[in-house]
């Protein structure tokens, strides 16, 4: 799913380049929200290291 974040960032950059800046900002905002979700997911999964 992290590849989707990169894909959305790529789309946001392309949209900005094509002068679709409102849509570009929206895609960026969605990506940031999803990134926070994945940070929470990976930060709260059980640790694989020995403590």
């Amino acid at each position: 799913m992290i590849s989707l974040l990169f894909a959305l960032m790529t789309i946001a950059i392309v949209l900005a380049w094509r002068d679709r800046w409102r849509l570009s900002y929206f895609v960026f905002a969605v990506t940031l929200a999803m990134s926070i979700y994945w940070l929470d997911f990976h930060a709260t999964t059980p640790l694989t290291i020995k403590l």
């Binding site: 992290i2 590849s3 380049w17 940031l32 990134s35 990976h42 640790l47």
Partner: protein, 195 residues
């Protein structure tokens, strides 16, 4: 008010974008040269770097604006949070580390330093109000990037790196959740076993 004209501001932003691209290229170099797969938190730090790159790209295309710098700050704070989480994960003695050290520090520590410097650099750039003025180079006949070559080159390098990370991350993680820690390129292995 501190003066910085739009033209040098765009050049500075292009240099900043090349530096951010350089960090992503270095990450790729370590990934392929040392055969070290990026962990999920490492990948999220790369996402944050691309987010910073997105803010810089906006400055190159449309000219410098405070909300473009805001986008950079949001991305850098997010990246800083991810790298801090990973530093804290390994801060207790005996808990090991992830990846090889570079000049004595691990990748996530370097990433934390980079995000701190990005926040500092962005805050400094925000001080220069003269860059927000419209000038002759921002007229439509000059096209995007203010008619400059360096911003154009920097933009397409970042676009390429964002697309390349989409592909390599998809090969590593597949469409599902990334393995923590990753052991191989999941999608390539699945294709090999099925074929």
């Amino acid at each position: 008010m501190i003066i910085l004209a739009p033209h040098p501001s765009r050049t500075l932003n292009a240099i900043g974008l090349l530096v951010v691209s350089g960090i992503l290229i270095a990450a790729y170099a370590f990934q392929f040269a040392l055969d070290e797969l990026p962990c999920p938190l490492c990948l999220l730090q790369r996402v944050a770097l691309v987010g910073v790159g997105y803010g810089l790209c906006l400055n190159l295309i449309y000219g410098a604006k405070p909300h473009h710098y805001g986008i950079m700050l949001l991305s850098a704070v997010y990246g800083g949070a991810v790298s801090t989480r990973q530093i804290l994960l390994h801060i207790v003695p005996g808990t090991g580390s992830y990846g090889s050290p570079v000049l004595g520090l691990h990748y996530y520590t370097w990433a934390g330093i980079c995000f701190f410097l990005i926040i500092l650099g962005t805050a400094i750039m925000l001080l220069f109000e003269g860059q927000y003025r419209k000038t002759l180079v921002d007229k439509p006949e000059h096209g995007r990037f203010g008619g400059q070559t360096l911003p154009r080159i920097a933009f397409f390098i970042m676009l390429f790196l964002a697309a390349a990370n989409t592909v390599t991350t998809f090969l590593e993680c597949g469409p599902g959740i990334c393995a923590d820690p990753p052991t191989d390129y999941k999608l390539i292995n699945e294709l090999k076993t099925s074929g």
